[in-house]
């Protein structure tokens, strides 16, 4: 039995959401995931048209037929190791601040809000998913941050949709530097051999959903996908909270 929803319900009783997590105004009774209706309207949800591979938003001027596959400039040039990626939000200022609060401001409860939107998107996508695998943190990083932001997202989706989340399958065995400030090549180099699959049993022949917080160039996702593929994963999809625009 999954105790998560019950636990969440009890915790919601002890820690009620009083104000909007974005603007701080009192919430309406029927507010979605702690966000008031006016803030919800302004959230930068990514809609069509978007890149058929990495899910980044595309300009409306890109005149191609609805049914055709569309690619962003990056995906035209570089191939990816995963099948397809999607993000919920465009990496706007407000989303950037929210993710920052989540990762560094210790507002773990935001994982539920993100998890909700990720689950919605996953259901829309129609992907076949057997297991959720969060992008891991190195154990040193885990100790200093105290939690793995991707694993909490995975747990939350798991709670919503009932798909098992496996956070002991994929391991980061190199304490890599932070990716911020690196260009495409540096990012890929930084992550070389960073991940290993410790326990390939449960992923062999299965469809995997990789979870991360932000998708930038896809280096992390590719790096993880490569080792997962080697370990025998069948399909690999990537879901993240936010991604930037590629022009």
């Amino acid at each position: 039995m999954n105790w998560r929803p019950l636990l969440d319900a009890v915790l919601d009783m002890i820690y009620p959401r009083m104000d909007c997590i974005l603007c701080g105004q009192p919430l309406e009774k029927d507010a979605v995931q702690g966000i008031c209706s006016s803030c919800l309207e302004f959230l930068p949800f990514i809609r069509e048209p978007r890149c058929s591979v990495c899910g980044k938003p595309l300009e409306e001027t890109d005149r191609t037929e609805e049914t055709e596959r569309r690619y962003c400039p990056d995906c035209r040039r570089y191939p990816h190791d995963f099948d397809q990626a999607l993000s919920v939000f465009e990496f706007s200022l407000s989303i950037r601040e929210l993710i920052h609060r989540y990762k560094y401001g210790k507002e773990f409860s935001l994982s539920r809000t993100f998890g909700f939107f990720l689950s919605e998107l996953l259901q829309e996508s129609g992907w076949q998913t057997d297991e959720i695998v969060p992008v891991p943190l190195h154990k040193n990083r885990l100790r200093s941050r105290g939690f793995n932001q991707s694993a909490l997202l995975g747990d939350s989706i798991s709670g919503h949709l009932g798909i098992p989340c496996m956070d002991q399958v994929l391991i980061r065995n190199v304490d890599t530097k932070t990716q911020t400030g690196f260009n495409r090549q540096q990012r890929a180099d930084n992550l070389k051999n960073a991940f290993i699959v410790k326990n390939p049993g449960p992923i062999r022949g299965r469809n995997i959903l990789l979870i991360d917080d932000v998708y930038t160039t896809g280096a992390t996702a590719d790096s993880c996908s490569r080792v997962l593929r080697q370990a025998g994963a069948k399909g690999i999809h990537v879901l993240t909270i936010a991604t930037g625009r590629n022009v």
């Binding site: 002890i14 820690y15 009620p16 959401r17 104000d19 009192p26 009774k29 209706s37 006016s38 507002e107």
Partner: protein, 794 residues
């Protein structure tokens, strides 16, 4: 734009649950419900909830909680005293001391967890009950005090004495001792002196309780050694909750400055500890759950150590919710957390709902949550530390003000200022004490040096409090507001807050209407009130005290009780007056100068406005009398010297005829016995009269017998507490009272004598006694006396 609601009850389902639970509890208090019916009701509600599924689940869940509250109340309040068959008998009980023994100047008070009972000459039976044991030294020699100071938590004692049932309120609106003890699971008491308490053995079994008791004792000794004196006593109160170790005078000073709340361990202290812990943890390598678990355990143990009174329990729960929220990345909401705390406390101890400490604590927190921010925003021009301190103090006082006045009958205008200065100082003292306490238990010498600045700080705090208590208007006595006034105050407070109910669109209009209705209502009640003569023989223990209220609202107080070593005036007479709406007196009469008649008058004359003071000058002036007269002189109260032959008219319908003393005879009748200098006053109203006799004895009664004109004395205040040497047959025959009131308490003189009781009964007078019936209140209306006693005769 659509806006969310800020109403206090929206988004906080716990408050709904709490309200339902409290409603259930209160219901079970007023209508004793059987637990069985509650169980049936709960099953019904649960079944309905299952049937209706989603449609009406919330109201059904609420009613489930409500009936559960009923059940909890029924189980708690329905508990019967297992020792009832032994009430009034001399028995020997054996049991273990639990909780913190309370050691006072002439007695020690223990709560005994009784395991066995023995009635003399019968076999020992096992029993399970808590008994409050008062152990009196029984010797004037202070050296004997060591005899009872030795008993500690965990000691097994055998106590012999008469088992008593505590009584409910003994005076109108007085303290409900029975309810107070019942809330602690205690249904009987026993007083024993000297060697009637025998130490058997130490209970060696280990428990958290025994461990805490050991710690408490060690801490106690350590504080005595490292700090000592009044400073040490202050620290003991602040850190360990041993408020009774502080001198009464100091406690009084704290109360007068509105600082009493810092002396009893409260939420404030838990706040200091949490601040200290967070500071220490933030500099430690501990991660995530470890500090939280450590903090929760430390707070829990500390709460148990100091006795887990409602404010402490409340603060511990709220602190843990706050810290756990931080660890889980969830934001805690103070009002909601307070609701959770209230729910938990009332689940464990439902009786707390009736306690002032519980109510005040939650009112303070709720009010701070609602008004802290708006007040601080108004004080932007001040440095933020100062403005937040003022905002906390002001908002807390706003929330507790009417209930404080209702319960403690005092207004402390300086309290905002004194809190502002002394609360941070006491915070420093508390945190310093917490750092020094463990050091002192391990390296006493080192702690002694470290404690020196702390001692200076303590002394400064005590001096500042003493100074503030002497400021003019430091504490103003105030009558208890009516319950409807208190309710209106809190409604107005909620309506004026940001979280007011949404259906109230014009808050100021609604508030004006509410206040208007209150004023009109109390005016109507005043007009409707029957105009009658009311005489209350107040229960002051051994001693006299009578309050007369005339139909036109004049108030007369005859005597004020008094007992050496107790402050009857502060503890009984003043609260009685103020709680019954009397804030000034038209006349105070001293029957004679003995301490059990005037001891309690001093605080009354000192604190309430009094128009006139009536006396007959005593033969010998004793210190208490001189002090009384000095106060009368200083406050410019008119002194009326009463003499035989005078008639004083009080209001339009009541007359006081002075029958005695007569200058001519008083010396020869009294012969140095002040009892026979007592005023004898005949109160005349319509066709009835009441005779007040003070402590006169047979000689004065013989003198009076031939001189009493009136034959229709209906009520007699039986002279001299029912002494054998008073209430002589010719005197009783001459006045033939229909009822006699004996003002008497526990005493060593054998008052009232059985002969006196017989003499009264033979003449058909109904006898009322303060010691058995508590206060006796009489109304004369429609040519008829209606008599009401606070307690039912045994």
């Amino acid at each position: 734009m659509r806006r969310g609601s800020r109403e206090i009850w929206v988004k906080r389902p716990i408050l709904w649950g709490l309200a339902a639970y409290i409603a259930g509890l209160v219901f079970s208090v007023y209508f004793r419900v059987e637990a069985l019916y509650c169980l049936l009701g709960m099953t019904g509600a649960a079944l309905l909830a299952l049937v209706f599924r989603r449609k009406a689940v919330f109201p059904l869940l609420l009613s489930l909680v409500l009936i559960f509250g009923c059940l909890r109340g029924a189980l708690f309040f329905g508990t019967k005293n297992p020792l009832t068959p032994y009430i009034g008998r001399r028995i020997t009980i054996q049991g273990t001391v639990i909780g913190d023994p309370q050691i006072e100047s002439d007695r020690a008070v223990y709560v005994l967890d009784v395991q066995a009972v023995q009635q003399t000459g019968r076999e020992t039976r096992s029993a399970k009950a808590k008994v409050r044991v008062g152990h009196y030294a029984g010797f004037p020699d202070p050296a004997e005090r060591s005899l009872f100071e030795a008993f500690q938590t965990g000691d097994v004692l055998r106590v012999t004495g008469i088992l008593k049932e505590p009584t409910g309120p003994r005076n109108p609106k007085g303290f409900d001792y029975k309810g107070y003890l019942a809330g602690r699971g205690i249904y009987s008491t026993m007083n024993a002196s000297g060697r009637n308490v025998v130490f058997l053995k130490k209970d060696r079994s280990f428990s958290i309780g025994s461990m805490l008791a050991w710690f408490r004792r060690r801490a106690d000794i350590s504080l005595d050694r490292t700090v000592g004196g009044q400073e040490g006593a202050l620290l003991k109160a602040l850190l360990l909750g041993q408020r009774w170790t502080i001198e009464p005078r100091t406690v009084d000073a704290f109360q007068r400055t509105g600082l009493a709340h810092v002396l009893s361990i409260s939420g404030l202290h838990i706040g200091y500890i949490v601040t200290l812990l967070h500071f220490l943890f933030s500099r430690s390598p501990l991660q995530r759950w470890t500090p939280l678990i450590l903090e929760a355990m430390i707070l829990l143990l500390y709460g148990l150590l100091v006795g887990a009174a409602p404010p402490v329990a409340r603060a511990v729960v709220m602190a843990v919710i706050y810290s756990a929220g931080k660890t889980m990345g969830r934001k805690s909401d103070p009002i909601n957390s307070a609701g959770v705390a209230a729910f938990l406390i009332l689940l464990i101890r439902p009786m707390d709902i009736l306690e002032a400490g519980f109510q005040l604590s939650f009112l303070a927190v709720g009010s701070i949550a609602l008004f802290y921010r708006p007040i601080q925003e108004k004080l932007r021009f001040l440095p933020s530390k100062v403005s937040s301190l003022i905002a906390v103090t002001l908002s807390a006082q706003l929330g507790t003000f009417p209930l404080t006045v209702y319960c403690f009958n005092v207004i402390t205008p300086w309290s905002v200022l004194t809190n502002l200065v002394l609360v941070p100082a006491l915070g420093l003292v508390t945190m310093g004490g917490f750092l020094i306490l463990p050091v002192g238990m391990i390296f006493p010498a080192a702690a002694k040096i470290a404690a020196a600045p702390l001692r200076v700080l303590c002394r400064l705090v005590l001096a500042a409090t003493g100074f503030a208590a002497r400021l003019p208007f430091a504490s103003i006595p105030a009558v208890s507001p009516s319950i409807s006034a208190v309710l209106v105050f809190y409604s107005v407070l909620l309506i004026l807050s940001r979280e007011r109910p949404a259906f109230i669109r014009k808050p100021y209009v609604v508030c004006t209407v509410l206040i208007g209705a209150l004023v009109a209502g109390s005016f109507l009640a005043e007009v409707q009130k029957p105009k009658d003569l009311e005489v209350t023989f107040v229960d002051v223990g051994q001693g006299d005290c009578t309050l007369i209220r005339t139909p036109d609202g004049k108030t007369i107080l005859i005597d004020g009780g008094g007992k050496e070593g107790r402050n009857v005036g502060e503890d009984t007479v003043l609260p009685f007056l103020l709680k019954n709406g009397i804030s000034s007196l038209d006349l105070v009469i001293m029957s004679h100068c003995h301490y059990d008649h005037i001891g309690g008058l001093l605080p009354v004359l000192e604190q309430l406005p009094v128009d006139a003071f009536m006396e007959y000058p005593p033969g010998q002036a004793e210190p208490a009398y001189l002090e009384l007269k000095e106060t009368v002189r200083r406050k410019g109260i008119d002194v009326l010297t009463a003499k035989r032959g005078q008639t004083w008219r009080i209001g339009s319908e009541v007359k006081l005829h002075i029958l005695y003393p007569e200058d001519r005879v008083v010396k020869s009748l009294a012969q140095g016995n002040e009892n026979n200098v007592s005023l004898v006053i005949l109160l005349e109203y319509q066709d009835t009269s009441v005779l007040f006799t003070g402590d006169v004895e047979d000689r004065v009664e013989y003198y009076l017998t031939g001189r009493i004109r009136q034959e229709n004395v209906d009520i007699l205040k039986v002279p001299h507490h029912g002494s054998r040497t008073s209430s002589t047959e010719p005197f009783l025959d001459a006045i033939s009272p229909k009822a006699g009131v004996i003002q008497v308490g526990t005493n060593l003189f054998g008052h009232p004598s059985s002969q006196t009781l017989d003499r009264l009964k033979q003449r058909g007078a109904r006898v009322y006694r303060n010691d058995e019936q508590g206060a006796v209140r009489m109304h004369y209306r429609d040519n008829q006396w209606r008599i009401h006693t606070m307690l039912h005769s045994p």
